[in-house]
């Protein structure tokens, strides 16, 4: 799968360039057996990749496949444990972001890296401002160069505007202009269209094609597979930190790409087969919205059922849970046992029998400096109090009880929770809510950073909770987990629920398809 033969590109200029580039010209950017490990987890396992001048190379893969790590290594933000990155034959080993920029590698981050309080021009030339004699910043020259670059992008943005006043799409343009201000050889775009409208996306593609014609090599990361076919010449699929496949875009279709992303024959004989609950759902959402992330979500969860909410990172699933739990404002209807329900705060939600286990257990879920007993007390102050006085005995009894029930590995219940392993922390978080016997439990990413053994325990706990009559809604980005755990799967994309899957229909492929549906600003889907 070399794929650099006569590729019919979307840009004639780029095509011409590629034809030449094809086999004769040496690749511009080469990655050889790049390995990167984080805390014992291999994020990248000997990844190799090369890109020619003028080529648009798309990089796709599931969440956590290693795409962003790979990009950060190219841009000098992280260093590989082994392997090599070369630009035009020169090794980039050990360089930092600043040097990578000087060599012509520009990266547009997924997270914005602009300072809102400074002007567009200052942001574009941060740390590289043109200077006059005496090393003072040449403001006029900086503005002139910034304006010229913005004009090249046909972006209607003035160089002296403060970045904070710009829309997300305009900020994206500034990021790209910032990359252009380098002597650009390689442009890395990490999910560049996440915040762009259809028109802005088209415009961005024009810019990329123009850069290709000038010989710039672009690495393009996206979850939206349709875009890959619109803009890329070559596509590499990453899975679990390794290259799962590589092809020129005209020799593969969307389904083929998805198969590579999923990476194995999809097992149909998973769960997700229970009959749908009957009667009044315990939780029902009707056209729920909570701007900006949740735009139109409808779903039901019955008592005794585990419904998994699948989708890509940023699809609005976390925000949906937070909306139901009263953390953020909502429009649309929420019904509990068929009754309309108004919530203004988590305390209100808890009174209606709703519990939420947040995604980020360290910053939002646990009191790391406090003991297991105290952590359980936080959500169960009522249960361990008599006449308004907290009973230490009751609190300890509760903790002891759950340490045994959930098999939390700890020497004693007085240990600060921060000293437990990730899996055991997650169990404490689970216990905080199990002790309340919620009627509806929202669980956001129940096994992130949790080892395999604890994972199985957590699945068993959630299942027995459902068997005891709780309606459980689980947000998970881990597809095998979704298929193992769910009775029914609801998929979200860009703030909308795009479909529901059950039984034999529930496959990783089907989930991915629903999760990559593009929702236009008028609400229509494609």
């Amino acid at each position: 799968m070399t794929g650099h033969s006569a590729v019919p590109s979307k840009s004639d200029a780029a095509t011409a360039r590629l034809r030449v580039a094809g086999n004769r010209e040496a690749p511009l950017l080469v990655l050889e057996n790049v390995v990167k490990e984080f805390h014992g987890v291999q994020a990248l396992k000997a990844v190799s990749l090369s890109s020619h001048p003028g080529e648009v190379h798309a990089l796709v893969g599931e969440n956590g496949a290693g795409k962003s790590t790979l990009m950060k290594i190219i841009a000098g933000a992280q260093h590989p444990d082994s392997g090599e990155v070369r630009l035009a034959g020169q090794s980039l080993t050990g360089i930092d972001e600043h040097t990578a920029g000087q060599r012509g590698i520009g990266m547009v981050h997924q997270e914005r890296s602009l300072v809102p309080q400074l002007s567009v021009a200052e942001n574009m030339f941060a740390g590289r401002q043109p200077v006059r004699m005496g090393n003072s910043v040449d403001w006029k020259e900086m503005r002139r160069r910034a304006d010229a670059l913005l004009a090249q992008l046909r972006a209607p943005i003035r160089a002296d505007t403060l970045v904070g006043y710009l829309s997300p799409a305009q900020q994206q343009m500034v990021e790209i202009a910032k990359a252009l201000s380098l002597d650009l050889k390689v442009l890395i775009l990490d999910e560049p269209t996440a915040s762009l409208t259809v028109n802005e996306t088209e415009h961005l593609f024009d810019v990329v094609r123009e850069l290709s014609a000038q010989g710039v090599s672009t690495i393009y990361i996206s979850h939206r597979l349709a875009e890959v076919f619109q803009i890329a010449d070559t596509v590499t699929v990453l899975k679990d930190g390794a290259v799962a496949g590589r092809s020129s875009v005209d020799q593969i279709d969307e389904a083929g790409l998805m198969r590579l992303m999923v990476g194995r024959d999809v097992d149909l004989d998973r769960r997700a087969t229970s009959p749908a609950g009957t009667g009044t759902p315990a939780l029902e959402l009707r056209h729920l919205s909570s701007p900006p992330r949740v735009r139109d979500a409808s779903l039901t969860v019955h008592a005794g059922e585990i419904v998994c909410l699948a989708g890509l990172v940023g699809a609005g699933r976390t925000e949906l849970c937070e909306a139901v739990f009263g953390v953020r404002g909502t429009a649309g209807e929420i019904l509990i046992n068929g009754e309309p329900y108004r919530i203004g705060s988590p305390a209100d939600a808890m009174r209606s029998g709703v519990g939420m286990i947040p995604e980020d257990r360290k910053s939002a879920g646990l009191f790391l400096d406090m003991s297991i007993a105290e952590n359980l007390t936080a959500t169960n102050l009522g249960a361990v109090s008599r006449l308004g006085l907290v009973s230490r005995k009751e609190s300890r009894k509760l903790a002891q009880d759950f340490v045994e029930r959930l098999r939390i590995a700890t020497p004693n219940i007085d240990l600060a929770v921060g000293q437990l392993s990730g899996g055991n922390q997650q169990k404490v978080l689970l216990a905080k809510w199990l002790a309340r016997s919620p009627k509806i439990l929202l669980v956001d990413e129940p096994t992130r950073g949790v080892d395999v053994g604890a994972r199985a325990d957590i699945y068993a706990v959630l299942r027995s909770l459902a068997d005891a009559g709780t309606a459980v809604l689980v947000v998970s980005s881990d597809l095998p987990e979704v298929l193992t755990l769910a009775d029914r799967i609801v998929v979200m994309s860009e703030g909308q629920t795009t479909g529901e899957l059950q039984g034999a229909d529930a496959t990783e492929l089907a989930i991915l398809e629903l999760a990559s549906i593009h929702v236009h600003s008028d609400g229509s889907q494609s």
Partner: protein, 337 residues
């Protein structure tokens, strides 16, 4: 557990065991602040008794120390609740002066009854606390800036109301702060009552335990169903009310309300709270610790006077004590990490 696993320094001049033991004892004391403070206080008393028995070890000296500590002792209860919740109040000295002046003016200029004057002074403090709390929880300005600003504002209002202050108020009013029981003036006994009540409430009740969660992790507390903003607002009102009470009591004890009352008291009270186990990031501390901290600082100040150290040194010493107390807190965190 950390002390056991910490490797001994490679070239320690001491054998391994004593180093471990010293470290473990040190860590225990730093973690158990009330115990540490009791030991420090005993050491100080013994030291002073050795060299200055005739001035230091007298009933009248101890009476003076205890009564002088009453004001800070009342304030530290409110400050401790705030600090456990992860906040604090710099404006307490100004609230104290304003409340004293309000009660003085009500009696002298408006010929109100003593009861009305006392309640009026306390209400003024509560309103100041409410204002602080609203600024912090509704406008979301951090407590440092908010109470630094109101510290100036409340002091200014005090001066607007009374110029330099209210001279002699009335003997009936003075009785509130001057009557003696068991050889000690009323402020001491009132402080003892407030400290005992505060200690019980903060350590035992469901309502006040919520502050530990708020200070420990505000976001997690909110997601655990604790109404964090409302609780912080209540803590500021409580602080203002206690400062108002202390202000009225102070005015009664002197039988006059001075606009310069309570200047610098926030340094003493916050120092006492940190000595007593509070940390600036919240989630820790006890009322008993805070009150013992107040007594320790009062005793240090008293000792400096007896040792004939220049009075200007007192602020320097209190500031240094604050730094040492905070360093202990850092050491505890690093060592247990």
């Amino acid at each position: 557990m950390t002390t056991a696993t910490t490797p001994a320094p490679t070239r320690s001049p001491l054998p391994e065991m004593p180093v471990r033991v010293i470290k473990r004892v040190g860590l225990t004391l730093v973690r158990n602040r009330p115990l540490l403070l009791v030991i420090l206080t005993i050491v100080l008393v013994l030291f002073m008794s050795l060299g200055h028995r005739e001035q230091f070890l007298t009933t009248s000296n101890f009476q003076a120390v205890l009564v002088n500590a009453a004001q800070s002792g009342i304030l530290v209860v409110g400050m401790m609740v705030l600090m456990i919740g992860g906040s604090f109040d710099l404006s307490i000295g100004s609230i104290l002066a304003l409340s004293g002046v309000v009660s003085g003016v009500l009696i002298v200029d408006h010929e109100m009854s003593i009861l009305v004057a006392v309640l009026g002074g306390i209400a003024a403090g509560a309103i100041c606390g409410l204002i602080n709390g609203l600024i912090v929880t509704k406008i979301r300005i951090n407590a440092l800036i908010a109470t630094l600003a109101t510290m100036g504002i409340f002091r200014g209002i005090t001066q607007l109301i009374s110029g330099t202050g209210v001279g002699i108020i009335t003997d009936d009013f003075a009785r509130i702060g001057q009557s003696v029981w068991l050889g000690l003036q009323s402020p001491f006994w009132l402080m003892l009552g407030i400290a005992a009540a505060g200690s019980f409430l903060v350590s035992q009740t469901r309502f006040f335990r919520q502050y530990y969660f708020i200070g420990g992790n505000e976001r997690a507390a909110r997601l655990s169903g604790i109404r964090t903003q409302r609780m912080i607002l209540i803590a500021f009102i409580l602080m203002g009310t206690l400062a108002g009470f202390a202000g009225v009591l102070g005015a009664a004890r002197l039988n006059s309300a001075v606009v310069s009352a309570g200047i610098g008291v926030e340094l003493q009270v916050i120092t006492a709270a940190v000595l007593g186990g509070a940390s600036l990031k919240g989630g820790e501390g006890s009322v008993i610790g805070g009150v013992l901290g107040v007594f320790f600082i009062a005793l240090v100040a008293n000792s400096l006077i007896i040792l004939q150290v220049d009075v200007f040194w007192q602020n320097i010493i209190v500031g240094l004590v604050l730094l040492v107390a905070v360093s202990l807190d850092r050491w505890k965190q690093v060592t247990s990490a």
